[in-house]
């Protein structure tokens, strides 16, 4: 048990969970047929909000995390409205510009540490560990305190992911989800059937921003530090790849994508092929996967089974 739950695997699993959350944030926007490259920027906003509140104001986690989810939402509303009332290509461009702008702004903001970012953010793992020790709890099954703490953190992240998935599923089964699907399939017909397409596109966009921001807040507290370079355009492309490859028509798609791609990159981290370390080629692989999947199986790996409506009252 202790071997299976070693720190490395726990960290990878936690990492997969956070990335699944990020993939889900992109999925939400894709479910209305829009392409966003802005969730890396929203993730940065969330991460920095949490980091600043924690390090400069000493705020506890149960304040920093909700704040990390809320701040991106506030920014997403005007950005989304301005871009989404226009044709789809404008959103891709605007969100690309947004992600870069956020990165540049943080890079030049001395209060937030400039290019070096913020360090020594209170980590969730440390907090749990201290809590366990203070409560006098002895880890079972020969686990160390650190391992138990990492396990708790992983479970917490998976819990957040689970709640997010439940939210997305419930929403998809109802009126809002139907509106999203109609807009995705044919937005002109959807609008003619009385759906306010701009409102729902912005709603999905803001929901995506909230999830991305929350993921950012989690990352801040798991990694002890944040810096602008982590939230660049390549991050946005990674998130997109998780959804496109894993499956863009079902909420479990990004989860599969994260498990596959992140799991693979971590698992093959030290693996060398022809003298080249595979981890260096990760972005090239992602780019290649994007091209191949979009050409051969655009809906991605996982597709949803048609829901049976006959059973409904």
């Amino acid at each position: 048990m202790a071997v299976l739950l070693n720190n490395y695997y726990l960290q990878v699993a936690t990492f997969v969970g956070v990335n699944a959350l990020l993939g889900l944030s992109v999925y939400l926007v894709l479910s209305t047929g829009q392409l966003t490259l802005g969730n890396a920027g929203f993730m940065a906003l969330g991460a920095y909000t949490a980091a600043l509140l924690a390090t400069k104001a000493g705020a506890p986690v149960w304040i920093t995390l909700p704040a990390a989810a809320l701040v991106p939402a506030i920014v997403a509303i005007p950005l989304g409205y301005a871009s989404l009332r226009l044709r789809g290509v404008y959103l891709a461009i605007a969100t690309l510009g947004f992600t870069e702008t956020v990165r540049v702004l943080f890079q030049n903001w001395e209060f937030a540490g400039g290019a070096l970012g913020i360090k020594n953010i209170p980590s969730l793992g440390r907090m749990v560990q201290n809590g366990l020790k203070a409560a006098g709890i002895t880890p079972p099954a020969g686990l160390s305190h650190a391992q138990l703490a990492n396990l708790v953190v992983m479970l917490f992240v998976l819990l957040v992911l689970g709640l997010a998935l439940a939210f997305v599923y419930r929403q998809a089964a109802g009126r809002v989800g139907r509106a999203y699907a109609a807009i995705r399939i044919d937005e002109i017909a959807a609008e003619a059937m009385g759906i306010n397409i701009t409102y729902y596109k912005v709603l999905a966009f803001v929901q995506g921003a909230v999830l991305a921001g929350l993921a950012g807040g989690l990352v801040a507290h798991i990694n002890f530090s944040v810096s602008p370079a982590e939230f660049a355009f390549s991050r946005a492309v990674e998130m997109l790849t998780l959804v496109v490859v894993g499956g863009s028509t079902t909420p479990l798609g990004p989860v599969l994508g994260a498990a596959l791609l992140i799991g693979l990159s971590e698992g093959l981290r030290d693996f060398s092929l022809f003298g080249a370390r595979l981890s260096d080629y990760r972005l090239i692989l992602y780019g290649f996967l994007l091209m191949v999947v979009v050409a051969l199986r655009p809906q991605g790996l996982l597709t949803f089974a048609p829901r049976r409506k006959g059973a409904r009252a």
């Binding site: 089964a173 017909a189 609008e191």
Partner: protein, 265 residues
């Protein structure tokens, strides 16, 4: 239907230009409430463009549209639908990957209100509203005669069935005016008769109908009033008998639809 019936739709001087091209020019129309109003004309006369102007898909270059006494010129399509004007499309725009029932239930969107909170927490009000919406969708499917195709993917249906499904979806929006764009296109005689029957049943529900059609049999037998468009302008307006006898109309159609002169004579 009396001549003094209040108009459900009033179009005044409606115009649309694309660059130098005039697609629709100074068209006036009055659709009395409860009527079935036909819009005919040769191909390229501007009928579908007129539809798009009326239903909000295209902003007009000039003129006005008044629906049930409310100005709707240049308003977004979803607002117009919510006010009570629904439509079908010439090229059929169903949600192909959704089932027939799911397509129709999308139509109930503007008559329901539950949002994120209601869906995620399955509140009592939302559950009641959802049950009602699905029930209404089933009812409309039955009304158009597709009750046994409830779960069939819309994209796989036969052509005539798809047209009826589109009508069911439009009916689900609870309209006072239903705009049909060439619903009989590609239908055989039996299907056309069934369509005529369907539209009459829609009229009996108190819904006014504005219909673009090329099939003269359908038009002459169904419509209470007809307007003829040619080159974007209104050529004539009147009862089917008046239109049939109108020399300008006959000339516009000369050589295009010779059956028109013989139909229903």
């Amino acid at each position: 239907m009396t001549e003094y019936a209040r108009p459900i739709l009033e179009v005044r001087g409606l115009t649309r230009t694309f660059g130098g091209l005039v697609a629709v020019s100074e068209v006036d129309l009055t659709v009395p409430e409860g009527a079935i109003f036909g819009l005919i004309g040769p191909n390229g006369a501007g009928k579908t463009t007129l539809f798009n102007l009326i239903t909000g898909l295209l902003p007009p270059s000039g003129g006005s549209v008044t629906f049930a006494g409310q100005p709707v010129t240049g308003r977004r399509p979803h607002v117009i639908t919510r006010l009570g004007m629904a439509r079908t499309f010439q090229n059929i725009r169903l949600f192909g990957s959704l089932s027939a029932l799911e397509n129709v239930v999308v139509g109930t969107h503007c008559r329901t209100r539950s949002g994120v909170w209601g869906s995620v927490f399955r509140t009592g009000r939302t559950r009641a509203e959802e049950a009602e919406a699905w029930a209404k969708a089933r009812a409309e499917l039955e009304f158009v005669g597709l009750a046994d195709l409830v779960d069939a993917p819309a994209g796989g249906l036969a052509y005539g069935q798809q047209r009826r499904l589109e009508i069911a979806r439009a009916l689900a929006t609870g309209p006072r005016l239903l705009c049909l764009d060439e619903p009989a296109a590609g239908m055989n005689e039996t299907e056309s008769e069934e369509l005529i029957d369907l539209v009459r049943r829609i009229q009996r529900r108190g819904i006014s109908v504005l219909i673009i059609e090329h099939d003269m049999h359908v038009v002459m037998n169904l419509c209470d009033r007809i307007a003829v468009l040619n080159f974007g302008r209104k050529l004539a307006e009147g009862t089917p008998a008046e239109i049939r006898a109108n020399p300008d109309v006959i000339e516009a159609y000369l050589g295009r639809d010779e059956d028109a002169a013989d139909q229903g004579a």
